[in-house]
């Protein structure tokens, strides 16, 4: 039997915070992602999803908030996860800096595209 005991008395750096964030966002993501999928794929079903359905959704402030939360937490968790995987294959400081910049850009870009669509809704 192995027991682990941690005594931490240092200031958490970025990597420690990211490690924590992956786990804390995980707690939120199961309800956020699964409820989204259960409603759209299992209850409503692909045959009923069309422009009209999306328009009704994004005309409702509650669903807009829900979709923004989902986008924020799922996508930041996913991109940071990709960063973790890529860092496992890169040791050089420069390569990691470049990866960080590219991932940050990718994250901001898609977040803006998605959030503006959710908030903009569909004109009828």
């Amino acid at each position: 039997m192995i027991t682990l005991k941690r005594e931490t008395s240092f200031k958490p750096n970025y990597e420690i915070r990211a490690w924590k964030y992956m786990r804390l966002s995980a707690i939120l993501l199961v309800p956020l992602v699964w409820i989204h999928t259960i409603i759209n794929t299992l209850i409503v079903g692909a045959e009923n999803i069309n422009l009209n359905f999306v328009a009704t959704r994004w005309a409702n402030i509650g669903w807009q908030v829900y979709d923004i939360l989902l986008l924020t937490f799922a996508f930041s968790h996913g991109v940071n996860g990709l960063r973790q995987v890529l860092f496992d294959f890169t040791q050089s400081h420069t390569a990691r800096r470049i990866l960080n910049m590219l991932l940050l850009l990718f994250w901001i870009l898609l977040s803006l595209v998605g959030a503006s669509a959710i908030l903009g809704g569909i004109e009828k």
Binding site: I2, L24, T41, N50, A117
Partner: protein
Amino acid sequence: MFNNIVHGVHGYTHYKGGAGHLSFVMHRVSGLGTLLFLSMHILLESTAHYAPHLYERLNAGLRTPIALAAEILMAFLVIFHGVNGYRIAYFDLFHIDLWSLPAAPKAARATWIVSLLLWFPAFIIMLLHGLHVI
């Protein structure tokens, strides 16, 4: 970097870590697969706002047996990643003291069973919905 990738992937397939190692590889694969899906999903749904006609076309064009099979596989990935993620988060955040060499692979195996049990009904329901559109 290229050498790192070759070595790393060799490690993924050859390391003899049993159930825990399989979970690690599957968590990576399912996380990356979900991120790929999510990135395409964000772009596709955004066309509903930016180019509604394109949205209608793409949406209708994705009603194929291959897309349905991909969605059903995707459901397994996101279920496994969620269940296994809860296992990781639970032990890491709340019960690091419960982690032990005999207990860890048992928890890893339980993750597979729970994921498959959750996936099975989802599989059937998705198939039934899919039959309407393909």
